[in-house]
Amino acid sequence: MPRLLSGALRLRRDPRILKLPPYLSVLCILVGVVWLFLLPLDEYSRRTYISENALLPGQVHTYFGGSDQNVFRAYKHEVNALVDKSNIEVNDKLESIVKGLGLKVGRQNFTYHSAGNVYSGENAYAILKAPRGDATEAIVLVAAWKNVKGELNRNGVALLLTLARYFKRWSLWSKDIVFLVTPDSIAGPQAWVDAYHDAHDSARVDSLPLKSGALQGAIAIDYTQESRFESVHVVYDGVNGQLPNLDLINSVVNIAGGQMGMGVAIQEMWRHNNQYPDRLRTMLRGMLKQGLGLASGPHSSFIPYHVDAVTIQPFGEGWQDEMAMGRVVEGTFRSLNNLLEHLHQSFFFYLLMQRERFVSIGTYLPSAMLVAANFTIMAIALWVKSGHQPSEEVSKAVESKTAEENPRNPAVERDLFLPLGFVTGCQFLSVVPLYLFNHAPETILTPLFTVFAVLNMALPHVLSHFLTRYYTPTAQQYQLIRSFSLLLLGMFLSSLATLNFSLALLVGLLTSPLTFMQPWPQSPVMRTACAVLLNAVAPTAVLVASAAYWQLEIGAILREAAFAWDVYDMYSPVVVWCVWWPAWLAGSVTVLGKPAGRRSRLKAKAT
């Protein structure tokens, strides 16, 4: 053991060990990326299974159908008559219908302000008291008047009314059932869920006049298609990349796919052959959605409150009718009705790559953690390196030092003040874009972004000039700037990976060039090349590039982000502006830096 230890110590003093970290960092990134691409293989992903035995999906006979079809048609006529009416008129009519069924009805106003726009409306909901329950638990059925694309959800609302009438006839419910109709798909459900949990801002959102027990699950119907459908599409992404319990998705897949015999799709993969490319595409789409953290339907707002929820959308041309859709909902509700406790058995962190294949957090987390670790490795290496003088200055340093230092291991004091101040300054500066883009009115968002992007390109040059002019940082100080900035980045990303894996991985990959950036005082070519590369992966450039790729307007993206920030507290802008941007800024300034030697610095001080 002592020999081993002394061997390790000798290795520690080996100068070669300091050359290793950049390669180690590259290895971490490569392994992280390759790991991700291995996940869709059969060996790494698993088949889904139901963990919660109480759910028993698809084990009950569903009776929705027959004469309910006529009821559905009648309600469809009522809904059609309301098409061009105002939100209040619609709710008046819905209220009279549902009251006629013998349910209690509540209504709730909400008004959100975001980017100079006003989003307001009125939610209407009804509560079916459980004949066999004690009103301590409830499940929710949601139909938004308009879906996320703004299309009228005619069949969805009509089906909700039909199901309300149908459910009322059954005496087997042990949990209350809440029927919720919201004017839109994002703000309305958000206002309702916030108010249900008394977490609302009463200036913007009214309190609920009527409440039931703890929500156990929610199903949203998004049924705009007029013709008969072939399959259902299950949308499960929640706000900020949170996901519902996998058991809920499995139950829906099991009921729709197994019991009803219809196809089930996820992540807009309308055709899925369960081969590697399709699995990979599904997984990447899921990760992108998770990373952006946007709400994807009425179900999204429920998930932060630990209420598992999905949206079911019919699609395709087939022979399934509204009754089949109703039976899917009925079957799912019967399963949720069986629950003895909150869904908790199965996974909350997973990536689905096909409706029946997934990887769990233990399998995929290492890839994001490796990417985050590469920054930490480099930060530690730079810290160690900054404690050693570059070789040409060592001899002088040793001469001037007293005998108390070991000449073989010339450690130098680190000058911490400037690097710490600079990195802290960058972090604080990041509040500016965060505030600007979340509070500017919509009309000026696009020009504001253009101005910011241009300034952003100039900013590293200005800062670098300012630094060299007034502080003449040494090579050691540049190393320390890099070290601290990478340490912070690695730390933020590894914390983030536990909350939102995909976002951490995306930002980690886009910032990975920062690991290798260093000042190039001798080589203008390298300096320009690095600066160009960094400008290509700047937050602003990435935003422009993705807008061009998906053919979206910058203004629309920023408006959506501001809306998400104001209405449902999406934190992706914080990550972009307060994690990614400062790291990028520190990296860009380092690349442009011209480190002064110790002696020239002393001279500068003397004059």
Binding site: P2, L5, S6, L9, Q242, P304, H306, H342, H344, F348, F349, T376, A379, I380, W383, A403, E404, E405, N406, N409, E413, L487, L488, M491, F492, S494, S495, L496, T498, L499
Partner: protein, 428 residues
């Protein structure tokens, strides 16, 4: 003269800056105080401001504040906070009180740093003592430490203990042993654990005492210790007596100190106790309580004897150990420990894990709340997540304590063995 004026102006500026920063955080972000008060990292069952409000409400309605088992703090806080205008209508007075307490603590720290006790005590003078930070720097490190600021905004009552401990040290260093003992008694009355600091503080006060004119020989250590122990006992009895008169029963003893001794409130915190005692079978509870307390107090004797020549170092290290192993620690305790660490600027070059410690502490500061969120709000994690991070937090702090101990001892050792200066140590 000029220098003195400049320092004075700078110090005043420092205090004003710290006060303005805190006041602006209080007023510009009205949601922030309540948010921080609710954080388990800041408010523990024995220091929480929310629980203080509850106790205050009961007290003002002539109900025993300890009814209901929510309030576990010293009874004398109640008349103090009743004197202030109601928090619900005029919160500004509470803010000002907490800011003032922080500034008082900083001022005590300022005096400790300026005395140079850390570098040269009565029995030991470090060869490196010239490289030290002056009072304003040490006070600034304390005042602008994010932990201190978060503590101030979160308003736990532990800030009063911090202030009392720092004043006890400052008075001992200034050669006023009597006042030091009174201050320590207050600290012990408020949170009990500072009583363990008594031995090193007695030594510190003994070493630094100013002898009255005409007397050249120091009194014997035993007489000194006995007389000052009497002071502590006297002050504590007076405080207990006042508490008894105020609440009308001895109920406060089990509700405040008993709770710390028996850990009956298992609210999560950044310490190592709660999880351990949640998991434990009841039959082992009392045994392990004894073991945990024994472990906590075992360091006092050993460190006091081993680093006899630098009592201030013993106090610093003990505060670090308490921060890790106390029953209800919070970041308020770490802010006190981290406030004293800069006094040892001269041994920083001897420390070996500064970067590692800084990185670990930074990581846990971000991962802790994230895992707590996963556990409590998102529901996708569980208690193990948060406990794992508190373990890492404890690891980071204990590395710092070990490293500082190593540096202080090495500093002493290099004076004894000048030939070993600069030689690398090796574990055998």
């Amino acid at each position: 003269m000029d220098d003195g004026k400049v320092t004075l102006g700078r110090t005043a500026g420092l205090y004003i800056g710290a006060a303005v920063l805190r006041l602006s955080l209080f007023t510009l972000f009205p949601g922030l105080p309540d948010l921080l008060t609710g954080r388990v990292e800041i408010s523990t069952p024995v220091t929480s401001f929310k629980r203080l409000q509850e106790g205050l409400f009961l007290y003002n309605h002539n109900v025993s504040p300890y009814d209901g088992g929510v309030y576990h703090q010293a009874p004398l806080f109640l008349p103090l906070f009743s004197l202030l205008p109601s928090f619900a209508t005029l919160p500004i007075f509470t803010f000002i009180l907490y800011i003032a307490v922080d500034l008082l603590s900083a001022n005590a720290l300022f005096k400790i740093a300026n005395s140079g006790e850390a570098g040269s005590s009565a029995l030991f003078t470090s060869p490196r003592r010239d490289k030290r930070w002056s009072g304003p720097v040490v006070a600034a490190v304390f005042l602008f430490n994010p932990f201190t600021i978060a503590t101030c905004i979160g308003r736990p009552t532990s800030v009063f203990t911090t202030c009392a401990i720092l004043h006890a040290i400052a008075k001992a260093v200034a050669g006023a042993p009597f006042t030091a003992m009174v201050a320590l008694s207050f600290a012990a009355y408020l949170s009990m654990y500072p009583l363990l600091l008594l031995p090193p503080l007695l030594l510190l006060a003994y070493d630094r005492q100013r002898l009255p004119k005409g007397i050249t020989a120091k009194p014997s250590g035993l007489t000194f210790a006995a007389s000052h122990l009497l002071v502590v006992v006297g002050v504590l009895s007076a405080l207990f007596g006042m508490s008894y008169l105020m609440t009308g029963s001895w109920e406060f003893l089990p509700s405040t100190y008993g709770i710390q001794l028996t850990l009956s409130d298992l609210t999560p915190n950044v310490g190592l106790w709660w999880y351990f005692f949640i998991e434990m079978f009841d039959s082992f509870r009392s045994f392990f309580l004894a073991v945990f307390w024994l472990h906590l107090s075992a360091y006092v004797g050993g460190l006091t004897v081993r680093i006899r020549r630098q009592p201030l170092a013993v106090i610093t290290l003990l505060l670090g150990i308490f921060t890790i192993f106390k029953p209800y620690p919070s970041i308020s305790d770490s802010s006190l420990f981290l406030a004293l660490v800069p006094l040892y600027r001269h041994v920083f070059p001897l420390m070996r894990y500064t970067f590692l410690v800084a990185a670990i502490i930074l990581y846990t500061v971000f991962l802790g709340p994230a895992f707590y969120h996963l556990w409590i709000y998102a529901g996708s994690g569980n208690a193990n997540f948060f406990y794992a991070i508190t373990l890492v937090w404890g690891l980071g702090l204990s590395l710092l304590v070990c490293d500082l101990t190593f540096a202080v001892l090495r500093d002493e050792w290099e004076v004894e063995r000048p030939e070993m200066v600069g030689k690398e140590i090796r574990q055998i």
